[in-house]
């Protein structure tokens, strides 16, 4: 909420995300090698790269879900432990068993559990905020539907609503448009842009090169190492794409 | 020259002859290694064998023979035996296959099968015999000559001693049998009822005129005691106003305790009258670790708890009493 943003702007805002020397391995194989990333606040950044390049790993490592071999991460100048409430995370859709007995609005409400704190129950205002978030992703009429009955696109929107409800200044989303139809993808990306216009910073792992230019303004190109990063206009070049994707440039 | 050779030959053959006969004599004198599964056999066998054999017992004081499965240690003990005794597959249920295997290499005797005819045995259900014969002293005494014969087959030199031991021991057991009869007989008929954890005392009841007996579990302790078992035995106890019931050393007392609580809640004050030796002897080197001691302890506890008077200890068993300070 407003309180969060004030807290951040009191000190130097600095960079939304600052990563130094991040290295992550799986056994002996390097997944991310010597990564340096800087993301300024207020951008809608896309993380792109071939499959297995370490995009999801990058998100999970900076959030502390995976343990890196080396590296240094700061959000708005502070370590991740202090910034949990300022970061909203939406994992990949398949990381969850959607047969869980619960409704769409209930999942969105789960996004507020960190705020509610130990031993307290969600209240009516929490439910109202969850409904409002569902409204923003155009899912209000499906609020009480079992999540097992939702389509892939609807499930994706529920996850986005869940990260929305926290009203955090930084949102990190892992493939929010994977497996959805064009219309839904449009709805989602437009929503994200509106959030960016409201002052939020977004870091999104994105898989579709054909619409990156249309929606994102910042780019991080990853293939085990950072090939290039910066404002999309300057970074989205054929040379960089070739370096990132090797010979295979899938449209 | 031939004279020396002849002398050498004579000396050699004499030496060899002495060695062989000495070896034979030595072999004849080494105690036969006998292995018994349970102590009820083991003690009887040791009394019969005297110095002629060393009797080892496989199952210890607290071990339930219905459950016992042969461990590698047990198999080694079986392997080093020259003669094996067991009761009956209905008792040593899980050792049946192992014993059968050993019976091909080592003389193995099922004492129940070797001693009694089918008609003499009591059956729990048609086709299922009750193996707890040691509870009837007179019947159990019949295994002594069978044991003696089995030992004598491998130690013919012992035959005289064995026969004498059998006569002496059977005299003791005969006196014991009468003593039990007298003691149990002193219990008023209306109270002469035996309630135990499992059905091991059928022969005891049959031999010593127990009016009625009940048990929570059947002859075998396999399978858990059910609510129905406990209630039905409690019903029996209440209906017959049984003064006391008994737990057993090889069985968890909880089933009896639960039954006692049930009977108490039905309005009849019944208590636990003692701990009986049913499927095993007591600890080694105690009086109850002998067959006579087992029967004596059981009889004394039953007699006292059910309101009888223990008979005077027979003179034939004075020797035993002195050995054990009883």
């Amino acid at each position: 909420m407003g309180a969060n943003l004030e807290q951040v702007t009191t000190h130097e805002p600095g960079l939304a995300l600052h990563v130094e020397d991040l290295t992550v391995t799986y056994g002996q194989a390097p997944v991310l090698w010597d990564i340096d990333v800087d993301v300024p606040p207020g951008v809608m950044a896309a993380v792109i790269g071939p499959n297995g390049a370490g995009k999801s790993t990058l998100l999970k490592s900076v959030l502390g879900l995976l343990r890196p071999v080396a590296g240094h991460v700061r959000f708005f100048g502070r370590p991740v432990k202090e910034m949990r409430r300022q970061i909203a995370y939406a994992p990949q859709r398949h990381s969850v068993d959607w047969d869980f007995p619960t409704t769409a609005v209930d999942v969105v409400e789960m996004g507020l559990y960190g705020e509610i704190g130990w031993f307290r129950r969600p209240g009516r205002d929490h439910r109202a905020r969850a409904m409002a978030a569902l409204n923003e992703v155009e899912m209000a009429d499906l609020a009480h539907r079992q999540i097992s009955e939702l389509s892939g696109g609807q499930q994706q929107r529920v996850f986005i609503a869940r990260s929305l409800v926290q009203d955090a200044p930084l949102m990190i989303l892992d493939e929010p448009t994977a497996g959805v139809d064009i219309t839904t993808e449009g709805i989602i990306l437009d929503l994200l842009k509106r959030l960016r216009d409201r002052g939020k910073t977004l870091i999104v792992v994105h898989h579709d090169l054909t619409n990156v230019e249309a929606h994102f303004d910042w780019l991080i190109m990853v293939n085990v190492q950072v090939v290039a990063q910066g404002p999309l206009k300057s970074v989205f070049t054929e040379d960089n794409l070739r370096a990132t994707y090797g010979r295979r440039l899938t449209p | 020259m031939t004279h020396s050779i002849a002398k050498l030959a004579a000396t050699t053959s004499l030496a060899v002859g002495l060695t062989v006969s000495g070896g034979v004599a030595a072999q004849d004198q080494a105690p036969l290694q006998v292995l018994a599964t349970v102590g009820m056999i083991g003690d009887v066998a040791q009394q019969v064998a005297g110095d002629c054999a060393e009797v080892d017992v496989l199952l210890g004081p607290g071990t339930d023979p219905h459950y016992y499965e042969a461990t590698p240690r047990a198999v080694r003990a079986l392997e080093s035996a020259e003669l094996i005794f067991y009761v009956h597959p209905a008792l040593e249920e899980r050792m049946a296959r192992v014993l059968e295997n050993f019976s091909r290499r080592i003389p193995t005797v099922s004492l129940v099968d070797a001693t009694y005819d089918q008609g003499e045995l009591l059956e729990e259900e048609p086709g299922v015999i009750d193996p707890h014969l040691w509870m009837d002293v007179a019947r159990w005494s019949q295994i002594a000559p069978v044991i003696a014969d089995a030992i004598a087959e491998q130690r013919p030199g012992c035959l005289d001693d064995l026969e004498a031991n059998v006569v002496a021991y059977q005299a003791e057991l005969s006196a014991l049998h009468e003593w039990v009869e007298a003691s149990i007989g002193s219990i008023p008929e209306s109270q002469r009822m035996l309630v135990t954890a499992h059905d091991a005392f059928y022969y005891y009841g049959d031999a010593y005129n127990i009016t009625a007996s009940e048990a929570i579990e059947g002859i075998s302790t396999e399978g858990e005691a059910s609510i129905g078992d406990i209630r039905s035995v409690a019903r029996f106890v209440v209906d017959n106003q049984v003064p006391a019931v008994f737990v057993e050393t090889t069985i968890n007392p909880r089933t009896i305790e639960s039954m006692v609580a049930e009977a108490n809640s039905m309005g009849h004050d019944v208590r636990i009258g003692g701990e009986l030796y049913s499927d095993a002897l007591g600890d080694a080197d105690t009086a109850e670790g002998t067959y006579i001691g087992m029967i004596r302890s059981n009889t004394e506890q039953i007699t006292h708890a059910l309101g009888g008077t223990v008979a005077e200890w027979p003179s034939e068993l004075e020797g035993w009493a002195q050995t054990w300070n009883k």
Partner: protein
């Protein structure tokens, strides 16, 4: 009816019915989390791992001191859970393989200890083997009190940590990202499942305990659409199966309680899988038939379908 009255008047029947109902309720509640975490066999591993603990407790205390035996069961149950964790983290094996390994190893150790105790010939060893299948009929008032205390503690923990358990079960990744101590919460859940297992050992034994954990939850899942509903219904179904199973087993001589209870709860699961609206096999079969009849009656063009507004709700699963 008079048979029922007669049964309920019996002290041992009362104790076993209460005990079995308590156990059913506790394992129904906790089993819901285990089933949703896809760790249904965790209960099986924990109960099989209880055997060495019971034997160790006996070897230490030297007698059938129940409190120590159960404490031992809890300790080895916890160790087994830890072993599963180590295996999944340090090797490439998945949870199901790790659970299977831990189950076999700990149960084997328990069997070895059991035979060691029995061959030592200790007079007190009798009855340790009843932990394998339980001996419900021999339950005491003290056992019931212990179960009630455990039940209250478990209920308190689940209520206090409700939303944390819910999130950790549904989406552990997001939970960690939100700053929740996921490892600690999952360990807490495992620990209370271990307590439930230990509490239930006397009634149904090591081998059948897993059914008490899985079946009520699996049945409840077919009928309700919320975690709270599932947990409550699972508890109720477990209690129902426990209580009535105990009653039924009291009607005849030689009817073991534990297996009857498990048969009853299994019947409840089968009925639920078949009949539940929306998810049940029969419901779905009939819905499919209704739909195909509707389709064959009219033309099958997609335009028609769109016009027709055919209800497809619920068929996604």
């Amino acid at each position: 009816m008079s048979l029922l009255a007669e049964l309920l008047g019996s002290r041992v029947v009362q104790l076993v019915v209460i005990g079995a109902a308590l156990l059913g309720a506790i394992s129904g509640v906790l089993g819901s989390f285990a089933v949703l975490r896809q760790q249904s066999l965790l209960g099986d591993t924990l109960s099989h791992a209880a055997l060495p603990g019971v034997c160790l407790g006996f070897l230490i205390a030297g007698d059938r001191h129940l409190g120590l035996l159960l404490a031992g069961a809890l300790v080895t149950g916890g160790l087994a859970a830890g072993t599963v964790l180590v295996i999944t983290r340090c090797t490439r094996l998945k949870t199901d393989a790790a659970l299977g390994i831990a189950l076999s190893v700990y149960f084997a150790i328990g069997t070895v200890l059991l035979t060691v105790i029995q061959s030592r010939g200790d007079a007190g060893a009798a009855g340790l083997s009843t932990f394998l299948f339980g001996q419900a009929a021999a339950i005491t008032r003290g056992d019931i009190q212990l179960m009630a205390v455990a039940g209250v503690l478990i209920a308190a923990v689940v209520l206090l940590l409700w939303k944390e358990f819910k999130l950790v079960t549904f989406d552990p990744e997001s939970a960690r990202a939100a700053g929740l101590p996921v490892m600690a919460l999952q360990s807490a859940l495992t620990l209370i499942v271990a307590v439930a297992v230990v509490v239930g050992l006397q009634l149904v034994g090591v081998i059948l305990m897993v059914a008490m954990l899985i079946a009520p939850a699996a049945a409840a899942r077919q009928w309700v659409g919320s975690l709270a509903g599932m947990v409550v219904l699972a508890g109720c179904l477990g209690a129902l199966a426990g209580g009535s199973g105990a009653l039924i087993s009291a009607t005849g001589r030689g009817l073991a309680t534990g297996p009857v209870v498990v048969l009853l709860i299994s019947a409840i699961v089968l009925v639920s899988l078949a009949l539940a609206p929306g998810r049940g096999v029969i419901w779905r079969w009939r819905a499919r038939r209704r739909l195909s009849r509707t389709l064959t009656r009219e033309s099958r063009s997609s335009a028609d379908l769109r016009r027709r507004h055919v209800p497809v709700r619920g068929l996604k699963r």
